[in-house]
């Protein structure tokens, strides 16, 4: 347990001292979301309607962009081998990296999402559902993404490969995340949809650290 917290603290320190690296995902998040009004036109009727979906899609892409860095630095400088040799189980290492990834990208996306919601003129009723759905959905993105990041360690063109592996598995989260915002806008009940998102999170939490650990062990063999 202490090892887990130490690893998370180490990764957070690295992220903060690394400066711009962690912020890039959020900058991309905001930048990509501002492209859509130019693409579909600044119609005040359309923007609130597509806003929830656009914010979810862009959050997903931003989370994916940051995946490549998740293990690559540790893989290249040999830290990963030290983790395997350490008494800390590999599953804990994977879990620590996943939590650190969520804290450095998912949380930042959560903070930036209301700003984008304002850009898109989302009605006030959609704010809480958007934030709660992202609170439940973004950890799932980090969990699933970790599998893809670990599997592609040392691969040629790993960035493109990660997107091919991870995006199909992100689709369920995207569907239900965007549906929560949509239902809230239409004034429908969305509690059940949030529970589905929570179910995805629990499922990913039960499976992803183990799959990631298995993939990491293969990467350094």
């Amino acid at each position: 347990m202490i090892g887990l917290l130490l690893l998370i603290r180490r990764d957070l320190k690295l992220a903060f001292r690394g400066g711009t690296d962690a912020a890039m995902a959020v900058v991309f998040f905001i930048l990509a979301a501002t492209l859509f009004p130019f693409g579909v036109g600044p119609d005040p009727e359309i923007l609130p309607r597509i806003g929830g979906g656009v914010i979810w899609v862009v959050a997903l892409l931003a989370a994916m962009l940051s995946l490549e860095r998740m293990f690559s630095a540790d893989y290249e400088d040999g830290s990963l081998e030290q983790f395997v040799l350490s008494p800390l189980p590999m599953v804990m290492v994977a879990l620590a990296k996943i939590i650190a990834h969520w804290l450095t990208t998912g949380v930042l996306l959560l903070v930036a999402a209301p700003v984008l919601a304002v850009f898109y003129n989302l009605p006030a009723a959609a704010f809480v559902p958007l934030i709660v759905s992202m609170l439940l959905g973004t950890p799932t993105l980090s969990l699933i993404g970790a599998i893809g990041a670990a599997l592609t360690l040392g691969a040629r063109r790993s960035g493109v490969l990660i997107s091919l592996l991870v995006l199909p598995l992100y689709i369920p989260v995207l569907i239900f995340g965007a549906l929560v915002v949509d239902s809230a806008l239409a004034g429908r009940e969305y509690g059940a949809l949030l529970m589905v998102l929570g179910g995805f999170l629990l499922l990913a939490l039960a499976a992803a650290p183990w799959a990631t650990a298995a993939a990491l062990r293969q990467a350094i063999e």
């Binding site: 599998i147 592609t152 040392g154 691969a155 040629r156 091919l164 199909p168 689709i171 993939a215």
Partner: protein, 240 residues
């Protein structure tokens, strides 16, 4: 049993002996199946002749899903027992599965146009989950070939195949959980098939034909893969 066929040479000999028989069975089944499907079965009273697309669409879907299940089982065997042929089987099956999935999507789209009035319906869970299946196949193929060391690619692809297996039950039950456009299961269900035998029998023959075709191609591809490995090993030996 498992380890009896771990020897690639023994497997190759066995595959060579079996291959002419499964090839013949494939050809006969296709000839009989296509005759029944196109001529000896009735047209649907609502859909007319377009219902015959089913004889390609449904068997391709069965094989596409069975193929992914096969890859997942082979991946588990490869990761747990390090069986040397399991990797080769998974690697050889993936492009076949991707091909069948493309056939399913293309024929489904062609069938959807006259019956549902649309090429593609984003709201339908069956269509979406089969599209995800195609992406999983493509990811598996890409991951297998992404590493300089083929063994690493095989292992990574095996983990991916096991993770992606969650999609198979979703495809199977999507028509019951989210009943939208796609019709529910009518052949494989607990209370027996709900379609008439004049359609069911040609469908089952086509299903067998597709299965035998898959087995034939799998054996051919596995033998080619084994031969390629042998050639590589010989070349490396000669270079030393």
């Amino acid at each position: 049993m498992l380890h009896r066929f771990a020897n690639p040479n023994r497997f190759s000999r066995l595959a060579a002996a079996v291959l002419p028989w499964v090839t013949g069975a494939t050809i006969i089944l296709f000839v009989v199946g296509i005759y029944f499907a196109l001529f000896a079965s009735p047209a649907d009273y609502q859909q007319g002749e377009t219902v015959r697309i089913m004889y390609v669409h449904v068997p391709a879907a069965w094989v596409a899903m069975a193929c992914y299940t096969f890859i997942a089982v082979m991946s588990a065997v490869s990761l747990i027992w390090k069986h040397p042929l399991a990797d080769i089987a998974a690697r050889s099956a993936a492009p076949l599965g991707a091909g069948f999935t493309i056939i399913v999507l293309a024929t489904g789209s062609l069938w959807g146009r006259p019956t549902w009035g649309t090429w593609w319906e984003w709201g339908d869970a069956r269509l979406t989950s089969v599209l995800v299946l195609l992406f999983l196949y493509l990811g598996h193929i890409a991951l297998t070939h992404a590493f300089d060391n083929p063994a690493r690619g095989a292992k990574a692809a095996a983990v991916l195949a096991l993770v992606g297996f969650v999609n198979i039950p979703i495809i199977k039950f999507s028509v019951e959980w989210w009943a939208t456009l796609h019709q529910p299961a009518s052949v494989i269900r607990l209370d027996g098939p709900t379609i008439h035998s004049s359609i069911l029998i040609p469908l089952l023959i086509m299903g067998l034909a597709f299965t035998f075709y898959f087995v034939t191609m799998l054996l051919v591809r596995m033998r080619a893969e084994l031969a390629a490995r042998k050639a590589r090993a010989l070349r490396l030996n000669a270079a030393e």
